[in-house]
Subunit: 106 residues, 2 copies
Amino acid sequence: MKKFEAESRLEAHRRTVDNMDAALIYILSERFRCTDDIGRLKAEHDLPAVDKHREDRQMARLKALTQDANFDDDFIAGLMRYIIEEVIRRHRRAAAEHQSGADRAS
Amino acid sequence: MKKFEAESRLEAHRRTVDNMDAALIYILSERFRCTDDIGRLKAEHDLPAVDKHREDRQMARLKALTQDANFDDDFIAGLMRYIIEEVIRRHRRAAAEHQSGADRAS
């Protein structure tokens, strides 16, 4: 392959990467809309903040998907930890907001 | 909303989260197939490993998308750093593999 062909292939790949990044951002945004609603539901209905059984099932499922996608387990585990830490931070904020609303109402 | 209704809504949300996670994993897997090929092209054609102009454009674009998705800039910036570190690790491996092939051939 000539260098200019390599550069044109590089450019095409970069357009694909840009499209994938847009997809990732919109999917993540939707995932957080969903987990934010979960946080509100848990706060309002006194449901347990952490469900170990759910977490174990979720992790086992992610591992199977990662292997099916022929992908690196450790990388995905680290990525999910990063996402889940943010979910927990937002759940705590929802619980605190619910609590301060309940305190004001009482 | 009754507690059992909240639990059923929670379960529905969890199914959505599971679907989003599968989408994230398959999109990321495809993104790495693409960046792995970029790494090979760069190594084989002596193209610069880092392109500051490309990186700046990419970051500006991600920021605009994140704002459009009404989402947290810092969270996405951290996530992209985590992904890009892995891309660089894999590019370095591709360059080393290419170099050791070239050494054997010489």
